[in-house]
Amino acid sequence: MYKYDEYDQQMVDARVDEFRDQVERRLAGKLTEDQFKPLRLMNGLYLQLHAYMLRVAIPYGTLSGAQMHILADIADKYDRGYGHFTTRQNIQYNWIKLEEAPDLMADLAKVEMHAIQTSGNCIRNISSDHFAGAAADELVDPRPYAELLRQWSSFHPEFMYLPRKFKIAVIASDTDRAAMRLHDIGIQIVEQNGELGAAFYVGGGMGRTPMIAPCIRDFVPLDQLVTYSEACLRVYNRHGRRDNKYKARIKILVHEMGAEEYTRQVEEEFAHLLDQGVEPPLAELERIRTFFEDPAFEDGPKTVDKSDPDFALWVERNTVRHKHDSYVSAVISLKPVGGIPGDATSAQMHLMADLATRFSFDECRVMHTQNIVLPHVKIVDLHALWTALNEAGLGEPNLDQVGDIIACPGLDYCSLANARSIPISQQISERFAANGKGDTLGELKLKISGCINACGHHHAGHIGILGVDKKGVENYQLLLGGSEAEDTSLAKITGPGFDEAGIVDAVETTADVYLREREDGERFLDTYRRIGMAPFKEALYG
């Protein structure tokens, strides 16, 4: 894992001092709320329906045991004993007091953490593949490149007041586990003629106008990565729309200007910037890489006794092949039946921290699907791990199953939402657990957003649900056929929306069509792509 040196620590400490000063000036009336708002947002502090919400950055989703323990302590000390892991690999707390926020930031800084740029119209926390460094199919670990960009994007003097927020994801395998092409910039580390470089995809996103990012350059040499990123951002800062916040994301600029013209301007700016010395020395990337070298993997048993069927099911569903054949990556589901997706209590966080230390080289990861991964677990340790998880209510065997729902906080917390997401998610997971169909469906990614901003990634769900307001009543649209993986596609609306009870029935009806129509080995998405929307519409509305 990356470790701060004195410089990184100085920067985070200076930020804590600055934020403390800003809060004091706000409370003293020297800053209006309007002036204070972007400053607090750049420190992750939102004003929500009931209280301040604080979003803590977890760069590329990677946490040490000590860091996870602090996240648990913060839940107890400043919140109500729980936290919510998000689709951008961060954690949110929902009940924060403004005057306590500077102390909270200081607590985070003690374990090399912060809330810098987790909101606001700036470059947000960089996300990555949650199996980075463990995946059998990756070219290299993508996180050193994400860390390089983290440093470049932190407190960038030119890009703090962009037209709109800006999200970057970095991956390094052909299997996309980070929804890379649905980001403002998606970067894939690739190899050409024996050299590593970066393919840049620019202008993807979800929200009210979902778009899949086009590739604007298939190879940027590693010693020009920051310079190329800077060029992409400068063209956006110069020309991105500022007249309408709903048209201000870079996807709209790339769409309206055309990918070709955007690329031409980026290339022109890039050629100029190459002479300006904005690139860190390549030695810096090499320094960062040393923090991400493999831990000391040991050969051991490659199989485990699976005579206990519950354990066998969890192993089958929640563990993923590792590049070392004596290890797996183990997913801890934060999606118990009827639970709130992504929520964890402080006790659960402490336990996950201890298990990371005991079984996974002191490391865990937050997934964009709102679960936690222990990336490097010895196969021989799996039963002990599962037993400990099960006792804490963390042993749900549902990775990528219908119960593994992504849901935004929705109208229960969020001031932007039109409808509740959490209760819909709870009812669907309860329905499919009670009728037993959940276990027969295989991979089925269900994603729920409580408004058009799409924080719950409904466009990318095999089944997506979008909550809308229909004359003061919550109404839910059903979408089918999305994917955030390497076969990225955007889901399509089935037809008229449903009320709260109706949407749960509609999801079950949709699942029934799949069960009836599927051919050997087909996932829900495969069947949908083969048979199209018509049979589903017929069953839903016919």
Binding site: D5, Y7, D8, Q10, M11, A14, D17, E18, D21, Q22, R25, K30, Q35, P38, L39, N121, Q151, W152, S154, F155, H156, P157, E158, F159, M160, Y161, L162, R234, N237, R238, R242, H272, L273, Q276, G277, V278, P280, P281, A283, E284, R287
Partner: protein
């Protein structure tokens, strides 16, 4: 709001609250970018958020003051305008004017602004603290500061 059609466009030296230069300030009014490109014998230009700073690049040798207006602090185009001019070799005064607030000063300074004429004068102590806030910098700026990455590998 200043009417861009009037001859008294822009700020005067008296409006400048912070200045990091020793030369005499330009004492005549600024003209718009369009006006400058069409006529002009003026040596002072005012850039509005939608203006193209790159259009000034062929004429930098006869400009002594560029004033960049921030009508609202949240419109960040002026930061890129400043970088663009400094990277093109502009060494004259670069003045941030308009909705310039304490918490934007240090970034503006790093983008190459060397004078500041806020609409509302800033608390001197708060501004001093803001200019001195950051011990180091991750990014290269319009100054000669060694970046953190450079310091790490000296």
């Amino acid at each position: 709001m200043v009417d861009p059609q009037t001859s008294s466009l822009g700020t005067s030296p008296d409006d400048v609250q912070f200045r990091f230069r020793d030369d005499e300030p330009v004492d005549h009014a600024q003209v718009t970018v369009d006006a400058f490109l069409e006529q002009s014998n003026s040596s002072a230009v005012r850039i509005e958020p939608g203006d193209d700073a790159q259009a000034l690049i062929p004429h930098l040798d006869r400009i002594a003051l560029v004033e960049v207006n921030f009508p609202v602090y949240g419109d960040g185009r002026g930061y890129s305008a400043a970088r663009t001019l400094r990277e093109a070799g502009y060494t004259g005064e670069l003045r941030a004017v308009g909705d310039v607030l304490v918490d934007q000063l240090s970034n503006m300074r790093r983008c190459g602004f060397d004078s500041f004429a806020p609409d509302t004068p800033l608390d001197e102590a708060d501004a001093k603290a803001a200019f001195e806030r950051w011990p180091q910098h991750y990014q290269a700026g319009a100054d000669t500061v060694r970046t953190i990455a450079q310091l790490r590998h000296e």
